[in-house]
């Protein structure tokens, strides 16, 4: 069965420090992985997807099929990065995404 695990519910880092939000998945097929973000008082929105291999707001995420991971990274955290982050798994041919439990990131000034 498909599953998405985000082991950290809360993560605090200082401004300017590197940040890594962990995501592991369990899926027997070829996964589609996404990171969604929800800033305070804003709607949940897509941050990035693995097939795009792009950097959004300084964040990157690499799909590691060997470790079944899709960790989100940023070399220098900013205060505006404070938000709730969700990792999500999509399956080819399926109509929905499976979300992890989320990690609340706080960047300390």
């Amino acid at each position: 069965a498909q599953r998405v695990t985000q082991p950290e519910k809360l993560l605090s880092v200082f401004k300017g420090a590197p940040v890594e939000l962990k995501c592991n998945y369990s899926y027997s097929g070829s996964p589609e992985l996404f990171w969604y973000v929800q800033y305070s008082r804003q709607r949940l929105q897509l941050l990035l997807r693995h097939i795009s291999r792009e950097s959004i707001k300084g964040f990157t995420a690499d799909l590691n099929k060997g470790e079944t991971s899709f960790h989100l990274k940023k070399p220098f955290a900013q205060e505006e990065d404070s938000a709730m982050y969700y990792c999500a798994l999509g399956q080819t041919g399926a109509n929905n995404l499976f979300f992890g439990t989320g990690t609340r990131l706080t960047v300390i000034p």
Binding site: Q6, K9, E32, F34, Y36, R43, L44, Q45, L46, R49, Y86, G90, Q91, T92, A94, N95, N96, L97, F98, F99, G100, T101, G102
Partner: protein, 113 residues
């Protein structure tokens, strides 16, 4: 700008009341979803619809039903609200095809007393 609109941002209901949560999207998307968002539990799928009048159960459908009479509108119904249904409810839509971007509404925070 794409838009998913949830008509009620905050609701307070009493146990046993019938509750309607409405969601409208203006993107002509085939797929619409209702999620429940709880701290520590993340987003859990209640129901989704891939076409008008079509619906599929998600992970936690018990105590909920849905209605999709028009493509742009997807309603979540709590037939008899209970206190454990106090939560944030998120509606989302998706064009379909390969797994891709879900567009979310702002959420409806329901409190059942």
């Amino acid at each position: 700008d794409v838009k998913v609109t949830q008509s009620s941002r905050y609701l307070v209901k009493r146990t046993g009341e019938k509750v309607f949560l409405e969601c409208v999207q203006d993107m002509d998307h085939e797929n619409m979803f209702w999620y429940r968002q709880d701290p520590g539990l993340g987003l859990r799928l209640i129901y989704f619809s891939y076409d008008v009048k079509m619906k599929e159960k998600g992970d936690i459908p018990e105590g909920y039903s849905v209605s999709r009479e028009k493509k742009e509108r997807f309603s979540l119904i709590l037939e008899s609200a209970s206190t454990n249904q106090t939560s944030m409810y998120l509606c989302a839509s998706w064009a379909g095809g390969a797994p891709g971007e879900l567009f979310f509404g702002e959420g409806s925070r329901l409190t059942v007393l």
